[in-house]
Symmetry: C3
Subunit: 267 residues, 3 copies
């Protein structure tokens, strides 16, 4: 199958099966992530109490952990949930929001990865580099990174934890095993909406729920994100309307949209 | 008065009096619930600290408890607030989000209902059945329920706790005392927006604040929800714009809209 | 420079420099505050864990503390962050949401102000009066206040804590040192959107990050808020679309918009 047919097959499986995606995510994006999952066709659930995360993982098809507004008792639940997901064999997506900005965030991610390695780590270049630095990579000199600048860091994380690493940027790059996929979809207005990176992680969970090939699932999610963003940007007058139309576009995405717009390269 | 005149009378009382509705609700829907209450004409307040919930209940006209993202210290505050509401005699609306999905959720709802029975329990068919099962009802066999399938469960809860039970679905059904009301308003796109069920509970609080007849208050809220959803769906291109236009429709709802669209049956 | 040139200079500095604004804010408005900061051109971060707030303050250009959904462990983080901001000399904006509604809120604000006085206190008339009452002001008799009614209260707070006080209302009034600025921009639909007051506080943080003259920064933020609200209201059909278009207007605000609409008085 061509990439566009494979992506579309995943979209159809999500729409038909409405896989339950369990999110332990940050306060800022809970609403927008849940709406994006629903618009795509998945079923979101948000639950973070240590008393229930294990039961919730038991009925979920994927677990998404996002550390955007971390605090102590949430970390405990993240560990319990991640261990339960590993035991059940469902995919885990980790979004290391703000890794590198504080040691608390970096250390929590590394501890989670050591305890129950994520199937897919999805972050921006700065976050991916911060995690790689914590694992012994040599520090680069530039402070504003493109996804391309973080490929080395992603390869180190992929090797250390056996994870696929999905780096978002103007061009998204997915590093997994021997494969590197780059996706040039998206729109410059997207970073002006809060939490679209977190939405990408939530959607990655939905694709991973229906596609066991993790690198492909990660890439399919970024392609659908980017294309929905392009469609939304054509109607939008700014970031407020972009967010609204982005959900509309996810909901009504067609194979024709996908086919006409996909910019996918593989090496 | 006819149902449409009674509903409109409540809407006018909410718009004129802006009753304060105290919400202890989940993180996902705090923003959308507050916006829906404001659009309708009520005054929302969100407060969950055990140090202040009693004082907040003391100035509120209704209390809405929603367990969507439960954790330990929030439960404590829910109990304090519910007891204070009972003492003051203001209505309590309980939304048992996800009851049945985990024991933690089911048990918390039952404990709350035993301590300070809700005036109105508002959930979907699956949640209402889960609560009834926990109270000894016989388990049904189907896993996807319509509101009609949960009428027996609602009657058991109504009898056990003296609550009105409002079941949302394609057709909403309100069970209270000897009365059963069904409302056939709404639109299939509504479940694709996160938290519209939680919004229904928040609006139920606003109607209960101005109307002491709890079954009517619950039904009026569902009718207004459904009609605002229909109006929004006529303009919407998907779930993103539906949510935006839903708030606009609540704000500008007229007696003519209500009168032309209401689909209400009583038995 | 005229006020409009000074405001525009701040807007350009925010757009060029994307100052990092650290928010410890309430659950209801985290998403909308972050989106408003991004639309204006600033960089938002939300972080509240006591383990990381000090490090986050160390890389931020302003700290915004908002007590809208307060609880115990958040207060501890607010104190740590406020002390760190004082040591670094970055501006602190305090939004005393609901001060006066419960003692818990009033007392927390006064304790924070005593520990690390805010550069700018931004609230509505009722909140500003509640804080002044707690500091010994004589109670007024009216319960619905305009910003003008709170000028005396603001002057007392300004004198006690050395803070600029920014009172939002149909006319916004900024009291600071010898200067009083009033701004008559805005639209009556704005209070029907939840959290626009909190958004005003977040934007005040962005302006304070680029302008050390705190009274001017506070006034510039309110002017831009009000004008963006007016632009949005011209397109909006209700509070749902107002919120969307408000973000679009912040993003695309031009000097011409500002210049044509600014209603600024100084005494």
């Amino acid at each position: 199958m061509t990439p566009k047919k494979e992506i579309w097959s995943d979209v159809e499986r999500i729409r038909a099966g409405a896989p339950l995606v369990h999110n332990i995510t940050n306060y800022v994006v809970m609403n927008s992530s849940a709406n994006a999952l629903l618009a795509l066709g998945a079923s979101p659930v948000m639950a973070h109490a240590v008393q229930e995360v294990e039961e919730m993982v038991a009925i979920a098809s994927a677990l998404v952990i996002n550390i955007g507004t971390l605090s102590g008792h949430w970390i405990q639940a993240m560990f319990v949930a991640a261990r339960a997901a590993k035991r059940r064999g469902i995919p885990i997506v980790l979004d290391p929001v703000g890794a590198g900005a504080t040691r608390f965030r970096t250390d929590t991610c590394i501890a989670l990865l050591n305890e129950a390695p994520a199937t897919i780590i999805r972050g921006n270049a700065s976050e991916i580099r911060a995690l790689a630095l914590a694992e012994g990579a040599t520090k680069g000199v530039d402070s504003r990174h493109s996804a391309e600048d973080a490929i080395g860091a992603a390869q180190l994380l992929a090797k250390t934890f056996g994870s696929v690493v999905s780096i978002s940027g103007a061009i998204d790059i997915i590093v997994g095993g021997k494969r590197t996929i780059s996706i040039a979809n998206g729109h410059p207005l997207m970073p002006r909406v809060t939490g679209l990176g977190c939405t990408a992680s939530a959607l990655t969970g939905a694709f991973a729920a229906v596609n066991p090939a993790a690198a492909k699932a990660a890439a399919h999610a970024m392609a659908v994100m980017g294309i929905a963003g392009e469609l939304a940007a054509e109607r939008a007058a700014g970031p407020g309307s972009l967010q609204v139309y982005f959900l509309d576009a996810l909901y009504s995405l067609s194979y024709e949209d996908l086919s006409a717009r996909l910019r996918w390269e593989e090496s």
